[in-house]
């Protein structure tokens, strides 16, 4: 690989560059390494200590592992709330994908000037707190032509709609960065020249090439939906977030056990992303000279 051009050098510049490449004195290297290790250890402690403490606390209930047994075997609300949240999460991911992939693709392909506005809209969930969003939904859909709050199905629709909005920043950014990594214009034109219509281009060419980005966005969305409390609680949905909160009100060790289980599920999801990413061919060159 060629290094950057240094341009005209002042006398002695070459020597100074060469001298900077010489090995430093041993003491300097040692001190630098120790500093790096200290920072790394502080980071590890900061992130893992609460986790270890939670784990230790969840295991205090005797006999050993009783808190986990209480949750997994004796509390049907755990499984039902988790399944509900997973189901809502999957529906959210499907709708977000259907909405955001074509939007991000079209904005990149044909409407690059609109991109800042679309980005602003997708960032709104960071600006508008969920409590405002859910109150707005309740006000808008409690009556009028679309009274969604009066039935369970209607509330499910509302909760999915709210989660789709919450997923915007994660899904849009993930998919947009995935699209940036490929030359969508040329790939689109290549597919068009071979007779493909928009549906086939999206399905057969664009989607497979943003697969990893889509999976990343999807798992982030899933993680948010599983842990979400405010919207699910105000819309009275039997979701995992409100269940966890309720559990914390009248039990001591079980909430810690549930936290560890949800950590485990999140890590499992991350592992799946890493595995899919490793087997993906997306990291390789997409177009251009080798």
């Amino acid at each position: 690989m060629t290094g950057p051009s240094l341009g005209p050098r002042a006398p002695g510049a070459l020597e100074s560059i060469q001298s900077s490449a010489r090995p430093r004195p041993r003491g300097g290297v040692g001190a630098g390494r120790i500093g790096s290790w200290i920072i790394f250890l502080v980071g590890v402690i900061y992130f893992f200590l609460p986790l270890v403490a939670t784990l230790a606390f969840s295991l205090r209930l005797q006999p050993f592992g009783q808190a986990y047994r209480n949750v997994l075997n004796d509390d049907p609300a755990f499984a039902s709330s988790l399944i509900y949240s997973l189901f809502i999460g999957i529906v959210t991911i499907v709708i977000s994908t259907l909405l955001i992939v074509p939007t991000a693709y079209w904005v990149r392909l044909r409407l690059p000037r609109v991109r800042p506005y679309v980005e602003f809209v997708t960032l709104l969930p960071f600006v508008i707190p969920p409590v405002i969003l859910v109150f707005a939904l309740l006000r808008a859909y409690s009556g009028g032509p679309l009274p969604l709050t009066v039935t369970d199905q209607g509330l499910n629709v509302l909760v999915v709609a709210a989660y789709v909005i919450l997923s915007f920043p994660y899904m849009y950014r993930a998919i947009d960065s995935g699209l940036r990594a490929i030359d969508i214009r040329t790939l689109t034109e290549a597919a068009q020249s071979m007779g493909a219509g928009w549906g086939r281009i999206l399905w057969a060419v664009i989607l497979p090439n943003v697969r990893v980005a889509l999976i990343s966005g999807a798992f982030l969305t899933l993680a948010i939906v599983i842990g979400e409390y405010t919207i699910a609680s105000f819309l009275v949905r039997p979701a995992f977030g409100p269940y966890l909160s309720l559990l914390g009100h009248d039990r001591a060790f079980e909430p810690a056990a549930v936290s560890i289980i949800s950590f485990g599920l999140t890590w499992l999801a991350m592992g799946i992303i890493a595995l899919l990413g490793r087997s993906s061919r997306q990291s390789v060159q997409v177009a251009g000279a080798r």
Binding site: D183, T186, E189, Q192
Partner: protein, 368 residues
């Protein structure tokens, strides 16, 4: 009626005219190149044929059918891109078979056609590879096979060799031409590389600033350029400022020295013209009787491998004549500053409109 016709095609982007009054009639199986510097409108014209851009004016017909406003996926036109544009998620075989799959051809037929094309592009054992597992040259061959798989009416190539290194470029260039001849497909090739255009094409369209400067065979383009731009853009050229002495007898002066031009030209006595002269037309020495002779001082001698390029300045602030000599061991080279005579035949030069200033033409050469 010709197979591919562009009639009075114009393309505007806002106030900018990218292509104007473009007229071309290509026969079936013809290989036409669009040659010109960056921004001359050659790729825009190609994209209009492909359907990726719509003309502001004019019509495009393929085999008698007006396709001017037809969607790109409804035209039967194959395209090869500079960046290959292979689908990274598909194998080589899937890439080649994509167009056939879109056309809902039976699987057996697709498999057979893919194998056939892999043979044609000399990659018979690479069908199961992914694009990233191939070299640049191999990727471009796959792109060519993919564009040919569904038997398009017209094949379009947009600077397909630009991203490749010199050796592969030359090899692939010959392969493209051989395949095109074998299949007899009407081909439009866009390039800024004159060598590519001249060596590949049946006809070359030289373009500049959205206009067609000249259409002709490579022989015509090189030997009989119709404008100063074509003369300067295609090949190396001496453009010498001349003053008309007597147009009827072809007499004029270059840097005060008399020359006679066999090809007729128009101009009033005392008027300014540009004399276009290829370096290979000029020889060191007085040459045979009847040759035009110019005297000047050697200002530079440079080795270019098989040839040696010598620059001779005609006077202190006069123009410079560039001439090429074959590089052979017995060649006697003049010394810098030595006064020499150079000669060229009377039918060698072309007299061009004096409006094209030498500086701007040199800029164009540098750009090219």
């Amino acid at each position: 009626m010709s197979y591919l016709e562009l009639a009075n095609v114009q393309k505007r982007f806002g106030e900018t005219i990218a292509v104007e009054s473009f007229n071309l009639a290509a026969e079936k199986g013809e290989f036409v190149s669009f040659l010109g510097p960056s921004g001359c409108g050659k790729t825009t014209t190609l994209r209009m044929i492909a359907g990726f851009e719509q003309p502001t004016m004019g019509t495009i017909t393929i085999n008698g059918e007006d396709v001017t406003y037809k969607a790109p996926n409804k035209r039967n036109v194959g395209m090869v891109f500079q960046s290959y544009a292979l689908f990274p998620n598909m194998t080589v075989a899937d890439n080649i078979g994509f167009g056939l799959k879109v056309r809902k051809r039976p699987k057996d037929q697709i498999r057979k056609r893919v194998a056939e094309l892999l043979e044609i592009v000399n990659l018979p054992d690479k069908g199961s590879r992914y694009p990233y597992q191939l070299s640049g040259g191999q990727q471009q061959r796959v792109a060519l096979a993919r564009a040919l798989a569904f038997e398009p009416q017209v094949l379009l190539l947009d600077e397909p060799l630009s991203a490749l290194d010199a050796k592969i470029r030359v090899a692939l260039r010959h392969e493209i031409r051989a395949i095109q001849r074998q299949l007899g497909i009407t081909t439009v090739y866009v390039t800024h590389d004159q060598e590519e255009a001249l060596s590949l094409s049946d006809r070359v369209v030289v373009m500049s600033e959205g206009r067609m400067e000249q259409v002709g065979t490579p022989f015509e383009i090189y030997n009989f350029p119709s404008t100063a731009f074509v003369a300067s853009f295609v090949g190396t050229l001496n453009l010498l400022p001349g003053v008309v002495a007597e147009a009827s007898t072809g007499g004029l002066t270059i840097s005060g020295q008399q020359v006679r031009i066999a090809r007729g030209f128009e101009g009033k006595a005392g008027g300014n013209v540009s004399v276009a002269l290829r370096p290979e037309m000029v020889s060191l020495g007085p040459g045979p009787d009847g040759s035009n002779r110019l005297t000047g001082k050697v200002s530079d001698v440079s080795f270019l491998g098989s040839i040696v390029r010598i620059r001779v300045s005609l006077g202190e602030s006069g123009p410079t004549v560039v001439l090429d000599e074959f590089n052979e061991p017995t060649l006697k080279l003049p010394q810098l500053g030595e006064t020499v005579t150079v000669s060229f035949p009377q039918d060698g030069p072309l007299v061009l409109d004096a409006k094209a200033p030498v500086e701007s033409v040199e800029e164009l050469i540098a750009e090219a």
